[in-house]
Amino acid sequence: MLEALQYEFMRNALLAGLLAAVACGIVGVYVVVKKIVFISGGIAHASFGGIGLGYFLGINPVIGALFFSLTSGLAIGGITRKTRLPEDTAIGIIWAVGMALGIVFIALTPGYAPDLMSYLFGNILTVPFSDIFLMLALDAVIIGIVVALYNEYLILSFDEEYGIAIGMPIEKLYLLLLGMIALTVVVLIRVVGMILVIALLTFPATMARQFTHNMKKMMFLSVLFGFLFTVGGLWLSYVLKLPSGATIILLGGTVLAISFAVSRLRLKNNKIKQA
């Protein structure tokens, strides 16, 4: 791994992994405790429309994805809060329409769409420096919002009804949360790809939750686990010559499975001791 660091793309990859870990670690905690994993999935998949738009207009597809993920986040939030449509229906609609738009845009774009696969499944090794800059900026926005509104989001995730009763602007805060998820999706797209984004939004936070019941600590731990998964997965993919995005996810899934198995065994042992 160390000799790999002499390559610029490897250094960029490490940086991208760290920046991804910060975004998914923090926002993932809200996604997990508020149980909006599939809203996040919908936002991530709908962002494919933006990638298609990027190709079609000849601009950076990540910028297109930023626009689409923000719009789809607000659309899902708006539809579920303002109409009688159930939330999962809204997710399904936005998810599918976003992807369909992406396919149409790409079909309309003359020629071949290069590195389309890396947007779908991620390739941490090909993250250009300009995108790292964008990731850094988005991370800064997310951290700023969470620091400013930590107390608000604790109430929002715990007990929305109480928040409404004490006069908090719950709907706006919720839409802003969906906006943060949209930004996180964009940060993660280059690293694990839009299809696998929900894994990085859930695995690190779920791991962290096993060790603390303090939300701030959970966020720090979650960032740490996110970093371990991205860097560990990057190293494994380098050694085993496997696609990096998928390797990162499989590493996370394996660690999560092992930690659940261990805590189950511990529970069992405790019961036997007590008996």
Binding site: F158, I166, R209, T212, N214, M215
Partner: protein
């Protein structure tokens, strides 16, 4: 001595779309009242509390809380909602939850002060739960959680406490303890409790109102021993003053 009027509703009507939730409700609550509001599901009990909180706007009538519009009085109202359905694993301690009650309109980047912390300790002492401050909220029993939610309402030093079905999800022994806590609190507070637990309400509250779209309330009269007795034997006779029969109760 004139008692201080805390809540005054005059001819208040509320509609959700085409459905009337409250119709011409008149209500006056004075300082140190402990008012129980009973009525069937869908009778408008929660709506009435939301009107007092200023969360639901009536289509007609006037609402005055501490002589002010409800939005301006909100900081003086403590509110305990129906038991929230949060996750047992939710990452928050008892302390975190009580501190939520100190959330104020101060807004962005607000950090809790020593004053906030002192208020939280006092509120936890009031509900006898200070020893649990570091515990995870989801790991407490239903009754203990309810005490924490009361502490969260008390921590902002309210003058009026609104309780929405506070005992709906806790077992009978815990309920008794909970009502004893309210007995203590009513010495320094005005309390409005919404419930469908008619038996308990009639023991602990000082005044009862019945709500089924219309509000039937005759001040403190109902709470004479005779009526208390009658409430147990045949509650229908006590509370069905109106033309609308109360569906919560069986015929005897």
């Amino acid at each position: 001595m004139d008692e201080l009027e805390i809540v005054r509703l005059e001819d208040v009507s509320v509609k959700y779309g085409e459905v009337k939730a409250l119709e011409d409700v008149n209500l006056s609550i004075v300082q140190h009242d402990f008012l129980g509001i009973i009525g069937p599901n869908g009778g408008g009990k929660s709506t009435l509390l939301k009107v007092i909180l200023g969360l639901v706007k009536p289509i007609s009538g006037s609402v005055s809380i501490f002589g002010k519009p409800p939005e301006q009085a909100r900081s003086q109202i403590g509110y305990v909602s129906q038991h929230p359905a949060f996750d047992r694993d939710f990452p928050a301690s008892v302390w975190d939850v009580v501190m939520m009650g100190r959330y104020s309109n101060a807004g962005l980047f607000r950090r809790y002060s020593n004053e906030d912390r002192a208020a939280a300790e006092k509120a936890l002492t009031q509900v006898d739960m200070l020893g649990y401050r570091e515990n995870q909220i989801g790991r407490l029993s239903g009754g203990q959680q309810q005490r924490i939610f009361v502490a969260r309402a008390l921590v902002a030093a309210p003058k009026l406490l609104l309780l929405d079905e506070p005992t709906a999800s806790i077992d009978t022994t815990m309920q008794t303890e909970f009502y004893e806590l309210l007995e203590e609190l009513k010495k320094s507070l005005t309390i409005v409790m919404v419930s469908h637990d008619i038996g308990a309400v009639s023991i602990y509250v000082d005044k009862i109102a019945c709500l089924n779209g219309h509000l039937y309330y005759h001040g403190s009269k109902e709470i004479t021993p005779e009526i208390l007795e009658a409430t147990y034997k045949c509650p229908v006779q006590l509370i069905a003053h109106g033309t609308v029969p109360h569906r919560v109760l069986k015929e005897h």
